[in-house]
């Protein structure tokens, strides 16, 4: 498509304070067509406020907010988006099919009820009152509501909270399907594996600022730590002093080393201790990378000795 690289939603120098609390401290964020952007960050990082600005729910104190080139408070801008918020209690006495039909009526060219239900995997509950569904099932209905308007951009705020693993996998599959069709998604999540499984780009937020932005790979590379475990006769203090070692500690009966230069470290370990055993090398998960990034001091090197 011609506009795949067009910016669909943008925050530029956006600031928002609630009293003395600076929820957003001048953040820049751009979402391009056809990509899935994950917003990661601890509670209070400003993710929900950033989404609130883009949805027109709150006004920025300073800076620019654009949705499809317009003020998000204009209804024409919001006709391009689908929304799944963290907690919205929908009318319990309405049936799932009725909720989808109502929400679809807000859009110019929505999907049919059957298609929306099929995509979100809620077809079997169409005739059931929303209030009779379990929490995880209700989340899937809310996902059906988010996609029923055939939106070009979906905002999903913690979409898989309360879902079992099976339901979560199905939802991921549906999200991938929507992105493959050329739609864009902004996702906030606590589940790092979710960002890892879905996102083209990850934006890590902390204290109202974007502290890292890039692909999952780039985020990992920025931290670039690998963990090495081994049983060795080498003393901890000696290994910890090697320049390749960022951090060293005892983990059970093995040594656990963190390093940015895993090949160098492993070569040196094997050279120095011919009896070394139980060697294991693992890439740090996004979880570790994330913890490192949002740490206040951001200092990774810690001498163990």
């Amino acid at each position: 498509m011609a506009n795949d690289t067009a910016v669909l939603a943008r925050l530029r120098g956006a600031t928002k304070a609630y009293g003395a609390l600076r929820a957003l401290d001048g953040i820049d964020l751009g979402l391009r067509g056809g990509e899935l952007l994950a917003l990661l960050g601890p509670n209070g990082a400003g993710k929900t406020t950033a989404i609130g600005l883009l949805l027109g729910l709150v006004r920025a104190d300073a800076g620019e907010v654009e949705l499809f080139g317009m003020d998000p408070q204009r209804i024409e801008a919001r006709r391009n988006i689908g929304v799944m918020l963290q907690d919205a209690q929908l009318p319990a006495t309405l049936k799932v099919g009725e909720l989808i039909r109502l929400t679809a009526s807000y859009y110019p060219a929505p999907r049919s009820v059957a298609e929306s239900a099929e995509l979100a995997g809620v077809t079997e509950w169409l005739q059931r009152p929303y209030g009779k569904l379990s929490g995880g099932q209700q989340r899937r209905v809310q996902f059906a509501l988010a996609l029923c308007g055939r939106p070009k951009l979906l905002f999903l705020d913690e979409p898989t909270v309360g879902m079992d693993i099976e339901a979560r996998r199905k939802l991921w599959q549906a999200i991938r399907h929507l992105v493959a069709e050329g739609n864009s998604v902004v996702l906030t999540t606590h589940y790092l594996e979710e960002a890892e499984a879905l996102a083209d780009r990850v934006c890590v937020m902390a204290r109202g600022k974007v502290i890292s932005e890039g692909s999952v790979g780039a985020l990992r590379a920025r931290i670039a730590l690998k963990r090495v475990w081994c049983s060795t006769s080498l003393p901890l203090a000696e290994v910890a002093a090697w320049p390749e070692v960022a951090e060293a500690r005892i983990d059970g009966d093995r040594l656990c080393l963190s390093t940015e230069h895993v090949e160098l470290l492993v070569r040196r370990l094997l050279a120095q201790d011919a009896t070394l055993s139980a060697l294991e090398v693992r890439a740090a998960g996004l979880a570790e990378a994330f913890t490192e990034l949002t740490r206040d001091d951001n200092i990774l090197v810690q001498e163990a000795a």
Binding site: N3, L55, F68, I81, A88, Q89, L94, L102, S105
Partner: protein
């Protein structure tokens, strides 16, 4: 000349999302339909709203009236007024308070719902329930208490009570912007019941202390009740146009205050 590529680019422009007028209208209809369905299926709202005025009327106006036609006629007006206050105050006020608390209003504001559809849907629901209440009370009056009402009197009361729900929708809307959450029904009752009492809906104002008679004109339900009394051919205080004017002014004032609060706080 034949350049389909150009056309596709035009139609794919991100902000080109025209909404045909027919679809906007359909959104209003769907919103109204959903509001009505959802409250008709909610016995916690529907039963007290329908039962309180009808049971009270049956007890005090019909059974304890000992076949006194004038008492049954007077109470038809009073309980109709009492009855139509509830769908406005509860259907509008309490539901708004709960939906603000439960995040539904936030979701609807994020969605491209036409903003007026939300209000019109709730108002249509309140008017429908008011019509049912007025019809039930009129049936009791005509067929159980045998109040001699002319067709035009019955129709006037019916039409008046449907329109009369509007000021209470406006008051409910204002209350719904001021209060939030699970305490809302109790708080609205603390306005609803005293207001009904002070407007002379349960006991005639003439048997009440002088001071309460003097302040009765402050309550919208007093004005609606005077109109209802006139509609069924009972003596009433003041001129009809004046009561209608007060109710209109009250509605506009409540809407204005509510709109101001919604804009500021959402």
């Amino acid at each position: 000349m034949n350049a389909p590529v150009d056309l596709s680019i035009l139609s794919e422009r991100p902000h080109a999302a025209p909404m045909p007028r027919g679809r906007v209208f359909a959104a209003y209809l769907q919103e109204t339909r959903s509001e009505i369905l959802r409250y008709l299926r909610n016995p916690g709202f529907l039963l007290p709203t329908l039962l309180f005025p009808t049971v009270f009327y049956l007890m005090f106006g019909v059974l304890l009236g000992h076949g006194n036609g004038q008492q049954a006629r007077y109470m038809l007006a009073a309980y109709s007024t009492f009855g139509v206050m509830a769908p406005g105050l509860f259907g509008f006020g309490v539901s708004l308070a709960l939906e603000r608390d439960g995040g539904l209003l936030t979701l609807k504001r994020a969605l491209p719902m036409p903003p007026a559809a939300y209000l019109i849907g709730k108002m249509a629901m309140a008017m429908l329930v008011a019509a049912v209440i007025a019809a039930l009370l009129l049936s009791l009056a005509l067929f159980v208490a045998h109040v001699p009402l002319s067709a035009s009197q019955a129709l006037r009361l019916f039409a008046l009570e449907i329109a009369g729900v509007v000021p209470f929708c406006a008051l409910g809307l204002l209350l719904g912007t001021l209060i939030k959450g699970q305490g809302a029904p109790g708080l609205v009752n603390m306005i609803y019941l005293p207001m009904a009492f002070l407007s002379g809906l349960w006991f005639p104002l003439s048997v009440m202390p002088k001071f309460l008679q003097q302040v009765a004109a402050l309550w919208p339900s007093y004005h609606l009740n005077q109109l209802a009394l006139a509609a069924v051919g009972m003596p009433s205080q003041g001129r009809g146009a004046l009561h209608a004017g007060v109710l209109c002014a009250f509605t506009v004032a409540c809407l204005w205050l509510a709109a101001r609060r919604l804009r500021r706080n959402g």
